[in-house]
Every structure is written in C-alpha cells, then in structure tokens.
C-alpha cells in the first residue's frame, strides 16, 4: 500500500474502558483528518476489545483496526509495539498520535524507532500547515505542526517532520477537548491479525496496583493551586482549606511537586493535567509557561503572590500582592461567612 494521508490514533484501554486521553485525541484527529480531507483511523490492540470499536466510530473514526490476543490483555511494550509497527509498515499512515500516558510514553518511542520516524513528546497543540525547510530549501505542504513548550517551558517550539512517515506525536490528557459521541456516524470495523516472536514475551507483569485517582482536577469547576510560595507541606494546609471552602480541588505547580510538597497527581501544567475551571486560584505560583500552558484557559484567575512582578499576574483577572499566610485564611473566612 502506498503512503496515505490518513490520521491514526492509538487507542489505549484498560479493563474494557477506553482511556479519556484516547477519546480526546479522536476529537483532535477528526479535525486534522477533515483538514487533510483524509480519514481518521483508530488502532485498538487488546483482549476482548472489539466491543469498544463501535464507540470509536461514534467518536469520529472512519475505520477501526482492532487486534485481539490474550497476550495483549495487559499492556506490555514489546507485544503492543509488534502490532503497531506491523500495521504502520503495511498501511502507511500519514500521522500517528498517542496519549502521553505511562503507556503512550513507553510505546510511542519504541514504535518511532522501529519505523525510523520522528516523534514529538507532550504537544500542547497540533495543526496542519506548510513548512519551508532551511536544510533543502523545499516547501513541504500540509505537514503536522507539532507545538510544545521547550527548554523547561521557557520557549514554545513548533516541530515538523518533513520527510519521514508517519509524523508522530504524544499529547497529555486534558490538553485536547473531547467532543460528544455521534451514534449516527458510519465507519468500518476491521479485525486485524497479529503475530508475535518469542522474544516479545521477555517481560512478564507479576502484579499491578492501580488506584483510582482521588484527585479530579480535569472536571473540577474550582481549583486552588499552590506553588513554591506556600513554603512547605504545612503551608499547603492553607491551600487545602481554601479549596474545601470553595468546594474545589487542590492543584500544584511542577516546582511544588518536584520539591515533594504534594503528590504528582495534583500537578497542573504541561507535564501534569491541563485544566479549564470556572475559577483558578494560583497561590504562591510564579507562573512559568509550563504551568500557564495548563491553566491559562480558566474563566477567572486569581493570583496571590508576594512578588508583584511574578509572570502569573499578567494573565490573572484578580491580582493580590500579599502574603499567602494572611490572604488565604482571609478568603477562607470570607467564604465561610457567606455560606452561613
């Protein structure tokens, strides 16, 4: 088969449920395919996953390729990479997208290396556009523009892959918006064969403990986030109290998570969760682009910081220059007073 202009999404599932990030990518993939006037295909490896295929058609797929095998029941790098690599070589997609989950970030580079193509991690936007190469002075039409913060989040880079196919990228959960399913859509569901080599089973999963997340940042209407300005783990108590008084979730900057002040699942930003709440309170967060990339679309932003020049103030709707230890309890008290 010759090269196509088709857009593929690797669909991740666990215990019969499609991952949210995959559904978000289906929505984005549909937009890209429409712009390219081509097809969106979903690629779904697993065991007993055929039942998920019709939902993927409703989510925008023109074709669903599903592979079923008992060795694909739990995610493991090599069997999954074998399935993907064979399909890519045979059907030649133009674009291949993965969620930047612990599965996608393990699988995508393995596949990219096997098919010798380029891969861009943690994109915050994907567009179709033209590119004039400085290398060979040629103009490449309709490439995937892979946009991501770079250099610790201090720059925004647009990466392209002019000559190698597929053009591959990963995207974090929450970055792309998920569109509702349309049950009237039509698409083809195709079961594809899979074959393995003995070396594919070098790794065995002995046990897996996955907790349901208790932090629901993505859907939260109100988020109160703390950064390095909160000082220490006790300082986060003020953040938690305010969040509780507002009926919101607790978020955090990467710096606060890296410093061990709070668990990673609270992290908002490019390498954490992207959020769009009605109200976002940034307490003691300076506002590196890394963080802002994950919260700038909040409807209202309140920033509290002792440094009047902190970048977060430039995107805040309400600026409070002051000490967290005073400001947060005042807000909590005022809210409790209102609730009476």
């Amino acid at each position: 088969m010759s090269e196509t202009r088709n857009v593929w999404v690797f669909v991740e599932q666990d215990e019969g449920k499609t991952a949210d990030v995959s559904l978000e990518l289906m929505s984005k993939g549909r937009e890209l395919a429409d712009e390219l006037k081509s097809e969106l295909w979903a690629v779904l490896p697993g065991d007993g996953v055929g039942a998920l295929a019709s939902d993927l058609v409703a989510r925008g797929a023109d074709r669903v390729l599903y592979a079923e095998h008992r060795e694909l029941r739990q995610y493991r790098t090599l069997p999954y990479a074998r399935v993907l690599t064979a399909l890519v070589a045979e059907r030649r997609p133009y674009i291949l997208l993965f969620g930047a989950s612990s599965v996608g970030r393990d699988l995508a580079p393995r596949v990219a290396s096997a098919v010798r193509s380029g891969l861009t991690a943690d994109c915050t936007d994907l567009q179709i556009g033209d590119f004039e190469s400085q290398k060979d002075k040629q103009v490449y039409k309709d490439l995937l523009l892979q946009i991501r913060p770079a250099f610790g989040g201090n720059l925004i880079a647009t990466i392209v892959n002019p000559k190698h196919r597929p053009q591959m990228a990963t995207v974090r959960e929450g970055v792309m918006r998920q569109r509702p399913a349309d049950a009237s859509r039509k698409g083809t569901i195709e079961k594809v064969p899979c074959s393995f080599e003995p070396g594919d089973f070098a790794l065995e999963v002995l046990s897996r403990e996955v907790r349901a997340s208790t932090v629901k940042l993505k859907e939260a209407p109100v988020i109160v986030s703390g950064g390095m300005g909160v000082g220490d783990a006790e300082g986060f108590a003020l953040v938690r109290e305010l969040a509780a008084a507002m009926g919101g979730e607790v978020g955090a900057s990467r710096a606060a998570v890296d410093a061990g002040l709070i668990a990673k699942e609270h992290q908002v930003g490019q390498t954490g969760t992207t959020v769009r709440p009605r109200l976002y309170v940034a307490a003691g967060i300076s506002g590196a682009i890394q963080h802002r990339a994950g919260m700038a679309e909040s409807s209202k932003i309140i920033a509290v910081n002792t440094d009047p020049d902190a970048p977060i103030f430039q995107i805040a709707h309400y600026r409070i220059v002051g000490d967290l230890a005073q400001v947060l309890p005042l807000m909590t008290a005022a809210l409790r007073e209102k609730a009476k």
Binding site: L78, D106, P149, T158, E209, L279, Q314, I315, R319, K338
Partner: protein, 267 residues
Amino acid sequence: MPFRSIVLVKQVPDTKNITGDAMTPEGTVNRAALPAVFNPEDLNALEMALRIKDREGGEVVVLTMGPPSATEVLREALYRGADRAILLTDRKFAGADTLATSYTLACAIGKIGAFDFVFAGRQAIDGDTAQVGPQTAEKLGIPQITYAESIESVEGGHVVVRRALDRGSELVRCSLPCLLTVVGSAPAARPASVRRRIAYKRDAGIESWTAADIGAEEARLGMAGSPTQVHKINFVVLEGTESKDVKPTAEGIAALVDELVREYVIG
C-alpha cells in the same frame, strides 16, 4: 555473579533555575548564561547501577554524547563510583534529535560489547521527552523497563523491577539484557568520594570516541539523521489580561468573594 552495566548520562543546561540573562531579547536561549548540570534522573540511574555492582560485583560504564565539556558529568560519575567513562564527541553528532541520538548511543554500546543492563534517566530536563531510553532499547533489540523505581532482585538471568505508573505501580520480571529508565523517586545518588576525586583528578582516563570509532553510518547521525526539524521557536509573550488589583486586607478580600458569588463563579 558480576554484571556489566552501561549508564547513559547527559549534561544539560539547568532549565529549572533560569535567570534573567538566560534569554536573549530575540527570544533565543543564551546557553552560556545557564549552568550545565548532571541531568538529575541520570544520577538516579547511576545509583541503581552502582547498587547492583555493590551487591553482585561487576563493572559500571558511563557513556555520554556531547561536546568535550560534557566530560564534566563523566568525571562526576567516576567520583561517585563508576569504573569507566566514554565520551562520544564529533561534529557529525551535532543537531541530533532523539532518533539520531539513540542510534549513536546504540552504536557505541555495540562497541563496548557484551552487557547485562543499560540504565538511563527517564528523561532529560532540557527536553523532557523520555524518548531516548526506549529508542535505544529498540535499536539494541532488547526489552525496556521504563519508569523504574527499584530493583527487587536479580537472579537466574532475570531482573524483577518495580515501575511507577501514572496512578500506581507495577512489578515486572524481565530477562537480561534489558534497558531501564529510572525515575527521580528512585534512591538518590551517593555523594562523590574524596578518595576517588583525588585518584581521578589528574587523569580520569576518559575515553573519547568519534563517529568513525563506533562504525556509525553518517546518514543516520546528527542533523542529517534526524527526522524532526524545528520550524520555529517563539519566545513566550504574555498577553495582558484585564485585571483588578485586590488589596490583601479583610475588606478587600470580602469584596472579592462577594463579587465571585454575585457573578456565579463560585457558590
């Protein structure tokens, strides 16, 4: 049973501590203004390799690709307990993306010869891609264990490893040789030893290899071997939002809360 481990390390600009001089007015990076550091998670990877050597004996080889100044991280690794250090340096390696980098590293590992483990940090703080580890494993044709947090046991040609997942963890058993990428929550690296620092001070015996030394195909190296290109770089411009200043007083805050409730933002 002695094991041979190869640890992939990288010298990176310290992107976590960007100062005012780090960006030029044109929005490009002024690398000279940024201190170069040992990529943090590569230190966790080094420690994991050293612990295997402590327990089972063997050798720890550190490998890096970079300019001659990258020997600093190799020295640091020797001070902390590595046995042998190799620098891959050649103009032909310049401008490599993760695919070309992993090819180069795999060629060098081929020249080092037989090994049991390859270790690397999960990702480097200048790119945060987490791609070079898995891509190197693929080039070597060996299994990968990403997000490794601890090694539980090594026996009978297998290793049992605990991996950190997005929400939880996983215990896996894998045949050797294999490649592990190590996360920052793994044990921190031991400090440099004064004795080793003195021993290596004058001559660290760092080997330096070029593209010709590792028998690499030139077309797969550096910029020529990199599928991805940077189309453009934008300096982050903050767009001002219409904003109100709120006084950090009880009255100021109460008025803010009133406004939020009145406009149905909260409550």
